[in-house]
Assembly symmetry: D2
Homo-oligomer: 256 residues x 4
């Protein structure tokens, strides 16, 4: 019964969309389509930046897994992030990881937004303190085991943690600049929160930024689908919103 209704829903959605598109064409004279600036991908000045490649989002044991698992499955997020890391290393692109950690005193913040409350309630990304690694290995705050060969190779720059969603309170911008990076390929978790806030802040700081729209995923909660928001904003704001396959091709052909 539910399947049938979903079919009806899908069908009428497609028809409405078609009509909508048709109707749009009649005002095409007034609204020019959104441009696709694109971005040159060159290991000399382009880096891969990954946000939050951590167990709490990407492992079935993670405290936020239930929020994002559908989106992770749909996008093949786990595999795509690994493909990006591997391709970047093989083709000599610098890699920067911007992780997310919370310490006991962050739990005492006096105010915060909706998902901040959720993250603290879930005890996401918990560590004992900035100068303690007790209980860190394999915890929700740790990196996925499959990513560690790339992240812990002594070459990847692991920045200080971001504390809300963007890199405003960590050293990502400085680390990129100190390595001569002007263009960023951005991916990681989660789409409309940390990835999007990184995208927006890096653009405000004068970087050229492209996002990999299927090497990320987002929470579904209260019938809000973060992935929908992320994909709209990636396309409208970034220089390009590429699939993993598209950017991998560009990285591979960059040094020819």
């Amino acid at each position: 019964m539910r399947k049938i209704l979903q079919c009806i829903f899908l069908f009428s959605f497609i028809v409405t969309l078609d009509l909508y598109c048709f109707n749009q064409n009649s005002v095409a004279a007034q609204i020019k389509p959104l441009p696709t600036p694109g971005m040159k991908v060159d290991p000399k000045n382009t880096a891969l930046v990954i946000t939050d490649p951590q167990n709490d989002f990407l492992s079935p044991d993670g405290v936020a897994w239930n929020l994002v698992k559908d989106s992770v499955a749909k996008n093949h997020t786990i595999e795509n992030i690994e493909l990006l890391l591997k391709t970047a290393k093989v083709n000599n692109f610098k890699v920067f990881v911007s992780p997310h950690y919370y310490y006991p005193y962050d739990q005492k913040w006096r105010f915060g937004g909706a998902m901040e409350h959720s993250m603290h309630a879930l005890k996401m990304y918990q560590r004992k303190g900035p100068l303690s690694l007790e209980g860190f290995k394999g915890s929700g705050a740790d990196f996925l085991d499959r990513y560690k060969p790339y992240i812990e190779d002594g070459q990847t720059v692991i920045t200080s943690p971001h504390k809300i969603y963007g890199p405003e309170a960590n050293d990502l911008v400085l680390q990129l600049r100190k390595q001569g990076i002007t263009s960023v390929i951005l991916a990681g978790m989660s789409g409309n929160l940390c990835v999007e806030s990184h995208m927006r802040e890096l653009i405000e700081q004068g970087f050229e930024v492209s996002v990999v729209h299927d090497a990320t995923a987002a929470a579904k909660i209260n019938n809000l689908d973060g992935d929908i928001a992320a994909k709209i904003n990636f396309r409208m704001i970034a220089s390009a919103s590429w699939s993993t396959n598209e950017i991998i091709d560009k990285m591979k052909s960059s040094h020819r």
Copy 2:
């Protein structure tokens, strides 16, 4: 014919949503609903911040009118922004306006994202220069006439222009802090671009931020609906996502 299909679409959408919600309840043990932290609204430390209340978006003569007019009509954006301005003034809330201007040398930037290219192609928010007001009055960069009594009363702080979408490159944060403001009621144009980037940056800077979800509007372009993205992200990220009516009630009762 189109109306009928839209009805079918809407009906099946609602049924599917209901089923979806019902299904969600069974995993309620795993996913707690998104909290609604809310925010205290007190003129001592709370200000109204309006982004881009300018003709290019909100006047039928504006160069971006066609992109946003449907969303503006649906949200009653023009009236709601005016209601906010009026209510803030009557109830002694400080008002800050963060405008958007582009000068001739901004047209020569060497790179930019998709909507940046659109804005420059449309010649949005054009002024002759930072030290010229030639041709400014009544132009697309000027404020809506109906807002001028509130904005140009000598009390409203008009910040320097933001240059992409967020307040990173203007003095909004400093002006708020120098007046003892710690909480912000945010509205203006456009929803998923400047309003959302202001929301994100103000939160990263340690402000408590609530957004007025119907005192804003967003572009529809390439079948991307910015208003959908904005509403998802307002609700997930801010302390509250209120309607104009809700926040007006709060402002009115704040000094009792």
Copy 3:
């Protein structure tokens, strides 16, 4: 012989100064003296911020000890920082520490200023990595043992490391805001570098900032005396430049 010359030097210096001051008085009509705004000291919204209370500066084994030891001795820096920490704790002022760490990839930065080169050449503040504490305990990057009871009490907020001199690339501003702090009492190492850059950045971010001019010290190198620069700029820029004794009195009487 050298002593005698120093006496002559000192004497003529004083005489010249007196003449200078006398001469200044005649233009007093034109130049008003520098105001002393001061700052209210209240544990509700005022915090103590200490930069770099680490062995590399403040322990005779530290790699930068020779650069600062004269200044440390003159100011009684080590004792004064401890007095501030103790007085803050006893009187319920929140304490924030902004440390300085360098990781192996920071050594590979492509460019930097003069003292940045010195710090890297000295291998100051070295740690194995952001997720390693190997060899940290008791190293030059570690806190002075005498400060640890105050810093490692589970209440002091230890921010992410700053990476050049200021807090632009760490979470100090956010941590202060999330605790409702609007005013800062600033001290630590070194005077004209990290303390002064913290002072300047916190002021730009809209904090009220006072500096404790003798709970800091600065490098002497190439006949440049950082302490001279620091004291001029503290007095000109901050809301107040207090001695340790002065601020201790204020903290003690703050909750009466």
Copy 4:
């Protein structure tokens, strides 16, 4: 009489300095001299940035003239800034000016540091508002007439005003990045306030920065000499602290 004492003072100062230097040599094993990293000067990625080239500092009618006139005379500041502007233009270096303006609501800020109070008391850099140029031409806030041919040529980027001392609250960083600038030659007014805060912030943002130590000047007030502080900090912090003649040679030979 005063002249004679100044000679004695100067002589004993030199002797003491020599003795000091000699003494320093004996610890040369411990303290390595401060390195001079220098900086490549190339119009492709290097820009000239001038802060506050405005009448209030540099014109005898300016409200702050008395504070800086001695230092301006000693450094030949007025001529040197013009030489920099002229040389930059002739040799195709991009020029950015970061001005300082205050509007009536800035006078109502609730708190500020010492020199902030002075500036407001002097009514420095006053304009009627961000959208008014009434009374601006030739005022203390306006540029020196002799600099206008360079600043108002339609090529120089005039950023939004900075509001305290640094560029944190204006668009200088973004404008530089959007033009591909990674290295900055910095000069202007005043040495230990706006120039130094620009130097520090640009370095934190990952620019390579050199300062022109005699194309600036600083206030003398309360027997504090800002120029002394500025010169110490320029040398310690920047990649290079050059004279006007040195940097002019470098600009001239940059495109060979």
